[in-house]
Symmetry: C2
Subunit: 308 residues, 2 copies
């Protein structure tokens, strides 16, 4: 799956991923109205609204991008119906040939991580049948519980040729509270990065590992260091755009081969029509605004990589 | 909600929680057969099987216990249908008067944690309506992202009178890999414990905080230290029984008032009929075996507390 992701990045020349994190407040009035008309102002109505919103954005951007990253929290907020919309989104994106990174940030003790891994990346035995739960291609994973929380994910990834992005240094302002604390004189995120590199050796694709890392765009200096600590890990970089990161800050997340990182933007793409720069599209054509924002993001990152 | 939990513990004289973590391999043949007969060997069939299994255990134990802790991973492995069984389980347990601790171990950056908090503990606005997603009473939360990942959970807890258990020192063998690393000469879990105590001051019940901690039964010495660092935090203690913890090891997780901790057992209760000690019940009466195992666990912990 890491090789397929790399293949798609090379085809599209776009090391980016669109974060499908639909807040109801991003969904244009006309879509909400239609969904609520059909299902009422209920969880089912909300789920229908975000699904229709996603679908239109995917239809207008899939040919430009290698991957999407639905954030499952934005679906879980709408309960079981929301989770069903997540699954629909995953399936639809895969049917369009997109690589799907499930931003689930799961992580637990061994047997429980094994259940998460089976549900999101693998299959589960039901009687004599093997069934697939959510079927994403990659999942994000929280490392706080250590190796025996991570290993079951790696086992499933090996069997199913799926991949992981493990949280190393997150994009939020207080990420440093624990992640930056010095252990033997070095920040914790570096130790986690070293573990990611070790775990990754167990499951290599052609040139990169199936085990990647999450490092926030908002911490470019840390990104540069972590790039060297984990040379074979693909880095998923959230925090571009709305959270403050820009193309020129991100060049050090990439290796010399122009690969090794994939930059996520969520709000900046899916709610682009709400920005002044794209206001001309209007809420009716929100997905065209998303396409324009994708094009601008690709140009920004491509330009920064060419200029280095 | 922490006051309600304490009230229930005092009524039942049982500082325990039953972990509803149904693996299909725990579900007796006759229940699987019936569910698969109705829904096939599908995710829906598996979901029906675990729901029926849960229901029978709850029916046979609810009067003895204050709370249950469904582990959402065990439901997510069966996809959307599994998540629907989780929701059914939460609702059923609440209808029986049980406090429901959603073992979801969520945690993300601010806006995303807010969505998880709304979905699991709070409500979400849909048009002019406020809707509840999963509706647990407590949730477990992962602290790796720091304060701004935790604060949105606390905000929702304040509004809805719900509670949290934040991972401090987990029960698994490799929990020490990051959690035990020394920061300024002290293990990371102590710093996290201090933060839990600080966060907890913001949201106090009568005698304990709404913000609790998870500390594994398998680390009793650390439990004793953490008890002192977080005097007002309720400690959720997993790892009893199948993972190796025993009543006598757990007394230091409790305060002098006999409160301050609630001990979880999952496999040891719900799959009790598979143990030699309870084999006489047979698979048909698996829930009676669970009741007997609950009684034994209560006696063990009560005895240990009285003997100290």
């Amino acid at each position: 799956m890491i090789d397929r992701l790399i293949g798609r990045i090379q085809e599209t020349k776009a090391p980016i991923v669109v974060g499908l994190d639909p807040m109801l407040s991003y969904v244009p009035e006309h879509i909400q109205k239609k969904a609520f008309g059909e299902f009422g102002e209920t969880l089912a109505g909300a789920a229908e609204a975000i699904w229709q919103f996603n679908k239109e954005i995917v239809d207008k951007t899939w040919d430009l991008i290698p991957a999407v990253k639905p954030q499952i929290a934005m679906y879980e907020q709408f309960g079981v119906e929301g989770v069903a919309a997540y699954k629909k989104t995953v399936d639809y994106c895969r049917s369009k040939g997109l690589v799907v990174i499930g931003d689930v940030k799961r992580g637990d003790i061994g047997s429980t991580s094994a259940a998460y891994a089976a549900g999101h990346l693998g299959r589960v035995k039901v009687g004599s049948q093997m069934c697939s739960g959510f079927g994403e291609d990659f999942a994000t994973v929280n490392p706080y519980l250590g190796s025996d929380g991570i290993k079951p994910f790696i086992d499933v990834c090996k069997e199913e040729k799926k991949g992981l992005f493990i949280l190393v240094k997150t994009s939020n302002p207080s990420s440093g509270e624990f992640q930056d604390r010095l252990v033997d004189g070095r920040p914790l995120y570096e130790l986690v990065g070293e573990k990611v590199a070790q775990w990754g050796e167990e499951h290599m694709g052609e040139s990169y590992s199936y085990v990647g890392a999450v490092v926030g765009a908002t911490y470019p200096e840390q990104g540069e260091i972590l790039r060297k600590i984990m040379p074979k890990a693909f880095i998923l970089v959230p925090g571009y755009g709305a959270q403050g990161g820009q193309g020129k800050d991100l060049v050090h997340f990439f290796n010399e081969d122009g690969l090794g990182a994939i930059v996520n933007s969520s709000r900046g793409i899916i709610a682009a029509y709400k920005q002044e720069a794209y206001a001309k599209f209007g809420p009716e054509n929100f997905a065209d605004a998303s396409r324009a924002a994708v094009e601008a993001m690709i140009a920004d990152i491509r330009g920064a990589l060419e200029a280095r």
